[in-house]
């Protein structure tokens, strides 16, 4: 860590970045657990095993089947689901390759609308019915309309308040995750494992669709239009005695760097691009040249920003994405959830992202697909008992921590699902088999708890 007038502890820089990604993940999981426990209680009338969707297209689980048939059915379901996901991701790569960005953005907005409007609306109705809230339909419609429209704007527009965008992304993740928990049990577990394996393959194998997408995005220096949660970049408060310049500079230099890049990409100044791919020392060395190169810009605003860029370009000594060393844009990895063509669709197609990477502003980006599947795992665990929830939650957070460490180590886009899902599933089954018996015996014998 840097030595500075006010020493920055590792908690401030590294810890802050980690917390800013763990907090929304935890919130999403907590909300899903809350929904699952309130809506799936025995008194509610929602049937959990009769949902038809693309994930149960091959086999609908009935509780009377033998274990073997359940297992094979679940495997079949998962394989089909993963195959469809692969196909749609390749389609996505193709669209991105042919620069159909507008279509992708429109699709993103549309899927956000479907999730928030229809899934959110239906969950709202479930809640109203369960608790018997005497709300009238006019107020309901107004509330839902507001919620949906602002949500679509938050996803669509580049410049909504950061907190609003983050909250809406968490809500979207929560809604989709809740719908996934309605799948039959065996299918859910096998699906989670299959998706973790798919994620691993798609991101790390040379021919994997997600890897292709990321490489395309990096080579073109664009962001993939997708639903991605981006944590707010951390500023090192104490680095400058003049509070404004330091704080402002740190933030702005990352953002402005990207904006400058966008603005100047046509005007042919490739300086930014070069600097972006260079490593730490060269960034410091080149700090003078951008001033000359870009000083031809007349705008006061931009000049002021330029200054900040230069002054703020020292390595912040922060974390992986935090250091301005290599503005490694390793955007994101995408997944598409398939929309069933069976009548009313509960599962919706949305362009979501899986995988973890470093945003161009240096903040950590986590795909919405990861939020969803972590929450599905914890939601499923909640359907059994709370002790599995705690165990799975800890396992997932540990997995996320390990993934972040690997991200720091490898500095490229990584799949965020495999480690967490593996640990989560492992802990679920261990808890189910071993811990429960132990706890129950302890409680009965008044030994603990």
């Amino acid at each position: 860590m840097d030595e500075s007038p006010k020493p920055i502890t590792i908690l401030d820089s590294l810890g802050e970045e980690i917390i800013r990604i763990i907090a929304p993940v935890s919130t999403c999981m907590f909300l899903v657990v809350l929904l699952v426990t309130t809506l799936n209680s025995p008194s509610s009338s929602s049937s959990s095993s009769s949902m038809s969707s693309i994930a149960t297209i091959a086999y609908s689980e009935k509780s009377s089947d033998s274990i073997w048939s359940k297992l094979t059915g679940a495997l079949l379901n998962s394989l089909i689901f993963v195959a469809i996901i692969t196909a749609t991701t390749f389609l996505l790569v193709l669209l991105f390759y042919f620069r159909c960005i507008k279509f992708l953005k429109f699709y993103m907005g549309f899927s956000a609308f479907m999730v928030l409007g229809f899934m959110g609306g239906e969950i709202f109705l479930f809640l109203i019915s369960d608790f018997g809230i005497p709300i009238d339909c006019v107020t309901c419609v107004v509330i839902l309309f507001n919620f949906t429209v602002v949500g679509v704007m938050a996803v669509f527009l580049p410049k909504m308040p950061i907190l609003v965008t983050q909250c809406y992304l968490v809500v979207i993740g929560m809604l989709v995750a809740y719908w996934f928990t309605l799948l039959p049990e065996w299918t859910t577990w096998v699906l989670l494992v299959a998706l973790a394996l798919y994620d691993l393959a798609a991101v790390l194998l040379p021919g994997g669709p997600l890897r292709l997408l990321v490489e395309l995005a990096i080579s073109r220096d664009e962001d993939i239009p997708a639903l991605v949660y981006e944590a707010r970049p951390v500023t090192n408060q104490g680095l400058e005695s003049d509070s404004t310049l330091g704080v402002v500079g740190r933030n702005r230099d990352r953002r402005v760097w990207k904006e400058r890049r966008d603005v100047d990409s046509d005007s042919g100044s490739n300086l930014n691009l070069n600097l972006n791919s260079s490593s730490n020392p060269s960034l410091g060395d080149n700090s003078n040249s951008p001033i000359e190169a870009l000083s031809s810009v007349n705008d006061n605003q931009n000049e002021a920003r330029l200054v900040i860029v230069e002054e703020g370009s020292q390595p912040s000594g922060g974390f992986v994405g935090g250091s301005s060393a290599s503005e490694l844009v390793a955007p994101l990895i995408e997944r598409v959830l398939e929309r069933p063509d069976v009548g009313e669709a509960e599962l919706n197609q949305s362009i979501e992202v899986e995988g973890i990477g470093l945003g161009s502003s240096g903040a950590i980006k986590l795909g919405l697909g990861d939020f969803i599947f972590y929450s599905v795992l914890v939601g499923r665990a909640a359907m059994y008992d709370f002790m599995t929830v705690y165990a799975c939650y800890l396992a997932i957070i540990a997995g996320l921590g390990i993934t972040l460490m690997l991200l720091a180590f490898y500095r490229k886009a990584l799949p965020a699902l495999p480690v967490s899902i593996a640990l989560g599933v492992l802990f679920y089954f261990l808890t189910w088999i071993f811990l429960e018996v132990f706890l129950v015996q302890c409680s009965i014998s008044m030994l603990m708890f």
Binding site: S47, L125, I128, V149, K159, I162, V247, Q301, E303, A304
Partner: protein, 140 residues
């Protein structure tokens, strides 16, 4: 968790004087948005404030509320600064409060009054009955 002092640090006290070609100026700057340096600049802010204000008229009080939240520094600053943005933000605030008061009074009247006040129409208007009638919860 998200309300970090960095916005305050960036948006906090003082003005920055950005002179022509003035490269070194250390006076801090007040940002019009709540995100501080990560948010919009003053020029872009006006367009955003205006469009949020306009679209709020489509029965979107939540958008007005978001507008006020987004430009909170403008709302709280003295009336002299950001005059153009300020108009829209104040307008949004007034619109949001009015709409919310109306909506709440209607919703509370409906909920508390119930059958006594409305008669059989209540049963037809209340949401869970409407949902059952239209089969909205039967998407499973």
């Amino acid at each position: 968790m998200e309300r970090e002092p960095e916005e305050g640090g960036g948006g906090g006290g003082g003005r920055r004087h950005v002179g022509e070609g003035g490269l070194i100026s250390r006076a801090p700057r007040v940002w019009p948005t709540i995100d501080g340096p990560l948010g919009l600049t003053e020029e872009d802010s006006e367009a955003y404030a205006r469009s949020f204000f306009k679209y709020g008229f489509f029965l979107l009080p939540w958008l007005w509320a978001i507008n006020c939240y987004y430009f909170w520094p403008v709302f709280r600053s003295n009336p002299r600064s950001f005059p153009r943005i300020r108009r829209y933000v104040i307008g949004s605030a007034i619109g949001f409060v009015t709409f919310t008061v109306l909506l709440f009074s209607w919703a509370l009247t409906f909920a508390i009054g119930g059958e006594r006040l409305f008669g059989p129409v209540w049963g037809q208007l209340v949401m869970y009955n409407v949902a059952d009638r239209l089969g909205l919860t039967g998407w499973n």
